[in-house]
């Protein structure tokens, strides 16, 4: 326990706060230091190592040699990389708006106070978030199946022939449905929590003006949770580019529909652990990371620019 030394007579009044401020300053590092130490080990070091790997190439004859940007040139002319990137871009453009729109609808409905059993709705919609992606994919994968899946059941029971959700044409949409199911509740909760901290005075002012429910939503609620919408959008975009679990697990149920380069993450994984091409895999990872950050930053910039 430290007691601050009283300032000497000769010092000016301004001198007094400095020792306390300096002590607080460095104490902050004592609290954030443990996080930053592990952060450096599991975030910074791997990125640096990936950059290092990406400028070398290993061959059976000749061993490892420095190749500068050759690996990057290879990525940019690799049809499998662009096929994977295009697929997650398409996934992102369709799945993210649907998911966030549904989440927003439910959040607004729960916040309106016009539902019977509001607490039940909130917990029930949130429940899928507690289900691991592995379990969610196995569940939906089985339901999609024609063997003991619901699609097969419905076909048999009603004598119809539904499109196969695990066919090459539909499998991306089927995966989009799984991801939507997993995360609509989580995003609903983010929006709902943001709605909870909207000042009541704004609602009262709107009511005095005779605003309708839709007008309150448009003029008060949506502007108030713009920050939450932006963050949810960015996280969803990042998640889409990182898509791996759902297609990887579904691959055994739909082997003809999902290739090893179905998504960039699957491609990087396949290059490393099936192809032992660590250097090229690291390059793919870096390029994908940069693309993701560019898109996330562009969305954030666009989101904040509208505030001016």
């Amino acid at each position: 326990m430290t007691v601050l030394a009283p300032p000497t007579i000769s010092r000016t009044g301004q001198a007094a706060p400095r020792p306390a401020r300096r002590r607080r300053s460095w104490t902050g590092w004592a609290f954030v230091g443990p996080f930053m130490t592990v952060f450096a080990f599991v975030f910074v070091a791997p990125i640096a190592y990936a950059i290092y790997l990406s400028v070398f190439r290993t061959r059976l004859i000749g061993g490892t040699s420095f190749v500068g940007l050759e690996n990057y040139q290879q990525v940019f002319t690799d049809p499998q990389f662009w096929s994977a990137t295009w697929r997650v871009t398409l996934f992102l453009l369709v799945q993210v708006p649907i998911m966030l729109f549904l989440a927003l609808l439910v959040a607004l409905a729960i916040d309106s106070g016009r539902l019977y059993g509001k607490a039940f709705f909130r917990v029930a919609v949130f429940m899928p978030y507690a289900v691991p992606a592995v379990v969610a994919t196995l569940m939906w994968g089985f339901m999609y199946g024609s063997r003991f899946g619901l699609v097969g059941n419905i076909n048999d029971t009603f004598g119809v022939s539904l499109p196969d959700p695990l066919s090459p044409d539909l499998v991306l949409a089927s995966i989009g449905n799984i991801v939507t199911w997993e995360f609509v509740g989580y995003n609903m909760l983010i929006f709902y929590s943001a709605l909870q901290v909207v000042p009541k005075s704004l609602y009262e002012a709107a009511e005095l003006d005779g605003a309708s429910q839709l007008q309150v939503i448009r003029s008060v609620k949506l502007p108030a949770i713009k920050g939450a919408l932006l963050i949810a959008t960015i996280f969803s975009i990042i998640g889409s580019f990182q898509l791996f679990n759902e297609p990887n697990i579904l691959q055994s149920l739909a082997p003809n529909a999902i290739t090893t380069y179905f998504t960039p993450n699957m491609y990087a994984y396949s290059l490393s652990f099936s192809g032992q091409q660590y250097n090229y895999s690291a390059t793919v990872a870096i390029v994908m990371g940069i693309l993701t950050m560019i898109v996330a930053y562009a969305v954030q910039l666009r989101g904040t620019r509208k505030d001016r």
């Binding site: 902050g28 592990v38 016009r114 709705f121 507690a130 990182q242």
Partner: protein, 308 residues
């Protein structure tokens, strides 16, 4: 030495009850809407039907899965037999995987929560040198896809002799940039600066101030971050997939998928009924955690949640 809370802090709780009646009055003005309830119920059905499918099919034998309708029970009710078989199949490896998962969650998510709490508190309440740099780097890390980290992390850990050990899963799980962000926003709003100043004037050390005064105030935020890091660690699939080759160290996610893939291998025994029952057993702990800790994570998100 006794810490004297700031007078305004003591007065704050008394002001709270006065707000409750007005809020209740406002809410009562809103008429319950059966139509809105019915429409939102569709979302609840979407969220809960797959879980219902899981419970129903966990009660079927391997043969029953193929011969009965997916959303209804088979004549042969085998839930308890399936549970017993899941827990004892292959010398009880499922139990081993469950214990592994608990190990990863307790050490990984617990550690992540501790580091995020300390770091978030520092970012919120201390003006230390380099603070803005720390914040920018960590938030930037949120946009780094797992793929950029996974391969080089694997290669780094391989050189350090850490792959195929529990540490390969635990150490990367210790860092949650989103958890840090959440604790930063929560600490900023939950802990009045005046309270800290009063404690310091009384001569309380920083660590004692944090443990005795700040931790209780941060409890909802801490539980919220703990739950989200628990979900992330329990859900972990990609990281263990690349780090672990020995099935004895698999988490449940890898184990379930290995069982699922078993049917696709030559001579492999199809055990879908155990995959389904194992999936049900896998999700029960997390669902229970969310339900029992509802009060904390709901207030945690509302108070410290996303607001820019």
């Amino acid at each position: 030495m006794t810490t004297h809370p700031h007078p305004t802090t003591a007065a704050a709780p008394k002001a709270t009850p006065a707000r409750a009646p007005r809020r209740a009055v406002r809410r009562d003005k809103q008429r319950r809407s059966p139509l809105l309830t019915a429409l939102t119920a569709l979302m609840v059905i979407y969220s809960l039907v797959p879980l219902a499918w899981l419970v129903i099919n966990a009660s079927k034998t391997q043969e029953g899965l193929f011969s009965s309708f997916g959303l209804w029970f088979d004549d042969d009710f085998a839930l308890f037999r399936n549970i017993r078989d899941t827990l004892t199949y292959d010398d009880g490896v499922f139990v081993r995987w469950l214990l592994n998962t608990l190990l990863y969650v307790v050490l990984g998510a617990g550690g992540a929560t501790a580091l995020a709490t300390l770091g978030g508190y520092a970012l919120a309440k201390f003006d230390f040198p380099g603070k803005r740099g720390v914040f920018a780097v960590v938030i930037g890390a949120v946009a780094v896809p797992g793929t950029a980290l996974a391969v080089p992390t694997f290669l780094m850990f391989s050189k350090l002799g850490l792959t195929n050990t529990p540490w390969a899963v635990i150490i990367p799980s210790l860092i949650s940039p989103f958890g840090l962000y959440l604790m930063w926003t929560f600490a900023a709003s939950a802990i009045p600066g005046e309270l800290l100043e009063a404690a310091r004037v009384d001569g309380a050390g920083e660590l004692r101030t944090f443990l005795r005064i700040c931790m209780p105030l941060l409890a909802p935020g801490i539980v919220t971050v703990a739950l989200f890091t628990m979900v992330a660690t329990w859900n972990n699939y990609f990281l263990p997939l690349i780090m672990l080759k020995d099935p004895d160290w698999y988490p449940l996610t890898l184990g379930l998928n290995a069982w699922n893939d078993q049917a696709a291998t030559a001579g492999g025994q199809a055990i879908f009924h155990l995959v389904i029952t194992g999936s049900l057993l896998t999700i029960l702990p997390l669902l229970a955690a969310f339900l029992f800790l509802q009060r904390y994570w709901q207030s945690g998100l509302a108070a410290g949640g996303v607001k820019d």
